[in-house]
Symmetry: C2
């Protein structure tokens, strides 16, 4: 079971800059009020909680068809539609494409170089494509879909077998296309937003395609949900996670939350978390900036800044008890002072010692940090991590008094793009771009 150790956040351990028990006590009523709002599903977007009870038979059937019939599985999606699938793949099937079939390509951009290279690597007749967009109108995803649709038809693929549309159950262009053309379609339930969708078909189909059990993932999520349903802040890891970071931001101006898993495979999970946290909480002039990192690797990159830079960060470790395998460091070069101490230990001893050392070094100079521990990296615990962070994020949004489910700040950029690309109704935006270009002073070197 996932566990949160927050000793190094507390005044009793790190002194003045830490949190006092009474600060958490002082927020208890607010927390239990938010708990009621969450339990009453005050907002329709809290439907992500209902995902834990979904029937996965359709997903499993589709995945099994893909496994049996294709050598490549391409996901077209961006933001939450790509980050969740990537987090699952890298955590549970590292170096997947080097010796596993179907190979997985997650294309989440509109970089023509990448798309061209990806197409050159895949025999389109042996390729299934999952197009993921909740709204059905995401420009990046739909333009790649248009390219793939055209090329696969020309290559003689059977669209009815090769394409899956993962989108809103009723609304949007992608649903409309799926209906008209008779494509296989999976639904993202209408309340569920992109960044809370990893435990919907968005992540679960990919999981099953690469041989990861969707049901185990959901079981993990259900089990952690139990613990994240306690109205009492001290007993609820998700609420406590939010409360601690909230206090650190309000009282100590620590606006950055560094997420540092000590396992290569969890780096994309950190990136998935960063999207969830940033897009949910960054609004109305407030917001915490999540920072994706990786231990031990970033001890040689970011640690200097965490230790001696501005006091604006909280570091959050993700610790793994059992790496599944271990590797002994052999007793070679034993005549070398300053090297021979390593021989006889194992890699997992070393990575764990480094994690604990970093934690201690930060705590020693009173820099707050906390640790999320999981027993091992498997489908069950990935489900726990995903759902834990989603609960924590929704809760923290309510704590800040903001809507953790919208993203109004990205609209203006989209509108300018629509203008430049000639979308009907955005002629004024096009003019605005042209005026800005003219007016824009040219400061360049």
């Amino acid at each position: 079971m996932l566990e949160l150790n927050f000793s190094n956040m507390m005044g009793e351990v790190i002194g003045q800059k830490g949190i006092a028990e009474r600060q958490i006590e002082g927020i208890k009523t607010t927390v239990s009020n938010i708990d009621k709002r969450i339990k009453s599903k005050e907002r329709p977007e809290l439907a992500f909680i209902d995902l834990l009870e979904q029937d996965t038979s359709e997903i499993k059937k589709t995945a099994s068809f893909i496994r049996d019939n294709f050598e490549n599985f391409i996901i077209l999606g961006i933001g939450g539609s790509a980050l969740g699938p990537r987090a699952i793949t890298e955590a549970l099937s590292p170096f997947h494409n080097l010796d596993k079939k179907p190979r997985v390509f997650i294309y989440d951009n509109v970089d023509p170089g990448t798309l061209d290279r990806m197409l050159s690597l895949t025999d389109l007749k042996k390729t299934a494509v999952n197009v993921i967009t909740k709204s059905g109108s995401t420009a990046e995803t739909m333009s790649s879909f248009m390219v793939l649709w055209d090329r696969m038809n020309k290559a003689g693929s059977d669209a009815l077998k090769s394409f899956i549309a993962t989108t809103d159950p009723e609304k949007g262009n992608l649903r409309k296309i799926a209906n008209e053309k008779g494509l296989k379609a999976l639904s993202i339930p209408s309340g569920v937003g992109g960044r809370y969708s990893v435990l919907s078909p968005v992540g679960l189909l990919l999981a099953e395609v690469i041989g990861v059990s969707a049901d185990e993932m959901l079981q993990g999520a259900r089990d952690i949900h139990q613990r994240c349903s306690d109205a009492e802040v001290w007993k609820n890891p998700a609420y406590l996670f939010g409360v601690l970071l909230y206090i650190m931001e309000r009282e100590e101006k620590r606006t950055m939350n560094v997420m540092v898993p000590y396992a290569d495979g969890l780096k994309p999970l950190a990136e998935w978390f960063c999207q969830l946290w940033a897009e949910s909480l960054g609004k109305l002039g407030t917001g915490l900036t999540p920072y994706p990192s990786l231990g031990t690797t970033d001890q040689h990159s970011q640690l200097q800044l965490w230790m001696e830079g501005p006091e604006d960060k909280v570091v959050i470790f993700i610790k793994v008890d059992d790496y599944g395998v271990d590797i002994k460091i052999p007793k070679v070069f034993q005549d070398m002072d300053g090297l021979n101490y390593l021989g006889g230990h194992t890699m997992s001893e070393l990575i764990k010692a480094e994690q604990e050392s970093t934690e201690l070094a930060l705590a020693k100079i009173k820099r707050p940090n906390m640790a999320i521990g999981i027993p091992k990296i498997d489908a069950y615990h990935m489900g726990q991590l995903f759902h834990f962070f989603e609960m924590a994020t929704a809760f923290t949004g309510f704590l800040y008094g903001i809507n953790p489910f919208n993203q109004p700040g990205v609209e203006e950029g989209k509108n300018f793009t629509y203008g430049m690309m000639g979308k009907k109704g955005f002629e004024a935006k096009k003019e605005e771009v042209e005026k800005a270009r003219e007016k824009k002073m040219c400061w360049r070197v």
Copy 2:
């Protein structure tokens, strides 16, 4: 040639929150004094500039031997020793391992799961290993080296052919081992620190192994160095880059610098930059936090926070003129309103429109941003980017009055690890760890 467009940093474009010309004027004398210190090579670590004139024949010979004799090329290194090689590989040979030989594995951690998986994928008899550590004592790198040394000897590899030591010309355990065993060795010149070493054999050997010209890379670096040698701040893009971010931090409390290339292949370059910037500048309680990002992808992840979150960021775009290839978005689904506007455009039109839109949307609400433009992604311009950022970082360190070449803050964590792993002379640290464990209050849920 690399170009810096900083219009959206200036008051004339973004109003009050922008920079006034006189603020840059006011810093001119300081800048030209720093320029003198750089040119006089005041610090030995400025030797990274001398790399531009190095002889690459030994590197090319070694690379050609590796290309001709091996199917896998493993780099063991961490921090600067890994990030530079990764930035080169992903920018100039995307999806390299899917159809190119030798395959490249950059192992920069001590995660036993990853190492085990990597070993299962590689025939060690057909594998060359480049061990990169300037000091020759990096625990992560040396412990993986010990594992590989043992396994490759047992597998019957010829160590003299298969191992390359890339390290200090004279000092350290790795150099000693290379001398004793007669291993092939390449030198990182003694003044050059790990994070300023990409244009040494650290990055250049990898480049040549994957078919990228080291000489072209150095030519690019030399050409941009010319421009970054002007004592006049207005004419020097590297100095101006530092000055603008310095003013934004001092005057506007913008402590975060988001680096957003609009090209998949440049994401690892952003990560390489982040290590350079964070570890060089984060000290004495000051420092700017660099944030690695990717366009258009992170418009669906971070953009909301940049637009509506706290005003603590400067966004830095990297723009590419020519993506090398382009892909037409076909005129399919033309009966779909809200989708048909895409057909007929190209992918590069779309990615460029999105970049400009994001820039404009930020500027419209007075959020500062600037853009580094390069004509295309090739060896020549990668060399320019690397050297430009190194010059800018060294300069900015001097501007803050700190030493941009050390990393004292990471020592304490290392010492705790030495203690736990039983290194001689660190017994007191081991005791400190044990005491901390006992004393540590157990706050967990």
